[in-house]
């Protein structure tokens, strides 16, 4: 196996804020690797450093064996990027956006035209090639950006929140494209996301990142295995009393959160009636009770004590405050 990306203790700080804190990982060629975490966790910062947009504060990294500090142009030629925010020229047509990109990467005319046609067909935009991008929907723009990112045949493709703000149907469609790409073109893909289902479905391996640090890294299946069983969520008005009523050995872990208690146990279905009986005996009201197989959300919760959504809200505010301070 060839190593596509190697990251070693990569750190980036903005003043007192450490956006990426000694991040290390190795990605093999052909892998789809996910950086999963809430907004502001350091995913985009890590990606920006790998794509030579941001200078690291310390640490080292290489893409296809090329050092990101020593040979920036070399790295840029080897990678394709789809940014979190749109980066198309809205006044140009789909074809012209592709053409501009091809010229920037100095791809000869014939190759450029042939690849543009092929890629626009792949993302099903060939019929709209002569339309101004301004008239495109969010999903079409994303597809065009992915096609553009592939035009110069990159060996590594960076996708920063590829399905952010898209409707579920379009998201599904994009996931299919990404899967097809990885299979057919055998390129290495690094994607960042804060959608659990996305990471779960697409990635061979996931690094969970929070507050700039990687807190867990493995395949989705093995990450979920660390939870050790099924997850039972009990919603109730008096959650505080629940832990005392369940001092049984088969409950591996329990966590009380606002309005709910989350239990981890194996073969939850068999124990459900006993849980209900015990709670009824203590006259604890149950609003609802549900059982599910562990998801990455549960994994995130078990590592950070928070759901990714809660993290998002508080983090956004913190970021806003931070940037306001930086401006003044």
């Amino acid at each position: 196996m060839t190593i596509a990306v190697e990251v070693n203790e990569l750190t980036k700080s903005f003043g007192s804020l450490v956006a990426a804190d000694r991040v290390s990982f190795v990605i093999e060629q052909g892998e789809i690797f996910g950086l999963l975490g809430p907004n502001g966790a350091g995913k985009t910062t890590t990606l920006s450093m790998l794509s030579t947009i941001l200078e690291p504060t310390s640490g080292s990294a290489s893409v296809m064996g090329i050092d990101i500090r020593k040979d920036q142009d070399g790295v840029r030629k080897a990678i394709g990027i789809v940014f979190q925010d749109q980066s198309l020229d809205e006044e140009l047509t789909a074809w012209e956006n592709m053409d501009f990109h091809g010229r920037l990467y100095r791809i000869p005319k014939e190759v450029r035209e042939q690849r543009t046609e092929e890629l626009l067909k792949l993302v099903e935009l060939y019929d709209r090639r002569n339309d101004i991008v301004k008239t495109f929907s969010g999903g079409m723009r994303r597809r065009l950006e992915i096609a553009r990112g592939l035009l110069h045949h990159p060996q590594v493709l960076f996708l920063d929140e590829p399905t952010l703000g898209l409707d579920p149907q379009t998201r599904n469609l994009l996931w299919k494209y990404i899967e097809t790409l990885a299979k057919e073109k055998n390129i290495t893909i690094i994607l960042t996301t804060h959608y659990m289902e996305e990471a779960d479905r697409l990635c061979n391996r996931i690094a969970i990142i929070d507050h700039g640090k990687i807190i867990a890294m493995d395949t989705p299946a093995r990450l979920k295995d660390t939870i050790g069983g099924d997850v039972v969520t009990i919603r109730s008005p008096d959650t505080a009393k629940i832990p005392a009523t369940l001092p049984v050995p088969w409950v591996k872990r329990q966590e009380t959160r606002e309005g709910e208690v989350i239990l981890t146990l194996e073969n939850a279905e068999q124990h459900l009636s006993e849980i209900v009986t015990r709670l009824n005996a203590e006259h604890i009201e149950i609003t609802s009770i549900s059982v599910h197989k562990p998801t990455l959300e549960d994994v995130f919760l078990s590592y950070t004590g928070k759901t990714i959504r809660e993290e998002d809200v508080s983090r956004k505010d913190a970021m806003r405050m931070h940037f306001r301070m930086m401006r003044h």
Partner: protein, 249 residues
């Protein structure tokens, strides 16, 4: 060179497609030319000018359309920053210098086209260009003014986060440069204490250079004009390239 051409090509495509912008930015100098020109023609003493006031105004208005279009073209990098397109160019394996030159050449071309459109209108109200050489002289000065002020716009845009500062630059830098340049009135008609200020204004030399081309006469030696405008364009390009190198997205 191919990268400079690529970025120039994009500017041209955007320019040709934005008809409202073409019309919008030609309207102001054209209206000024017609209203001020014909309105003041009989009031202004022609003795000090040696020609009609309308014809005196033509080079000034050509310079004006080049000036405003080029500053605006340069500052448009802010849009690219905000709409994200700048990232696309910055992560490509090309140098910042090539990108900056491409933007400069593109902006200057746009500005020169705008100037030529105004010149064509001026022909309808009586402008007579005596020889092709004269036209080329005027064109040369327009190109230099276009390059200088596109580069100026890029320099400003490299330091700005959004378009809010744009009005400030327009009102406190670009408009005074224009007002003091002798585009609207002969430098000699100003009070003696103001004259040195107009001579510091680099645009003065641009306007007078264009005037020399279009009318054959100019109060400042055209070679002096050329030296000053070319020097200014070189300096602005250098500053623009320097500041653009530090742009982060």
């Amino acid at each position: 060179m191919d990268i400079v051409y690529t970025i120039w090509l994009r500017s041209m495509k955007r320019y040709i497609r934005s008809r409202s912008r073409i019309v919008g930015s030609i309207a102001m100098p054209l209206f000024l030319l017609v209203f001020l020109g014909f309105g003041l023609n009989s009031v202004v003493s022609t003795a000090s000018l040696g020609q009609d006031y309308v014809m005196f105004l033509v080079p000034g208005m050509v310079a004006m359309s080049v000036l405003f279009t080029s500053v605006f073209s340069g500052i448009q990098i802010i849009w690219d920053k905000q709409f994200g397109f700048l990232k696309e160019t910055l992560v490509a394996p090309v140098s910042r210098l090539e990108i900056m030159f491409g933007q400069t050449v593109g902006g200057a071309s746009t500005a020169v086209f705008q100037g030529i459109i105004l010149m064509v209108f001026a022909v309808f109200i009586g402008l007579r260009i005596t020889s092709p050489l004269n036209f080329l002289i005027a064109l040369g000065f327009m190109i230099l003014v276009g390059i200088a002020f596109t580069a100026f716009g890029i320099a400003v845009a490299s330091r700005m986060e959004d378009m809010t500062g744009f009005q400030l630059i327009m009102n406190f830098v670009v408009f005074p440069l224009f007002g003091l340049s002798g585009a609207l009135f002969p430098i000699s008609s100003l009070p003696a204490w103001l004259e040195p200020i107009t001579l510091i204004d680099p645009l003065t030399y641009g306007v007078e250079g264009i005037r020399y081309g279009l009318t054959g006469v100019s109060p400042i030696n055209p070679l002096v004009c050329l030296a000053v405008v070319a020097g200014f364009a070189a300096a602005m390009t250098y500053i623009g390239a320097y500041l653009f190198r530090k742009v982060s997205v």
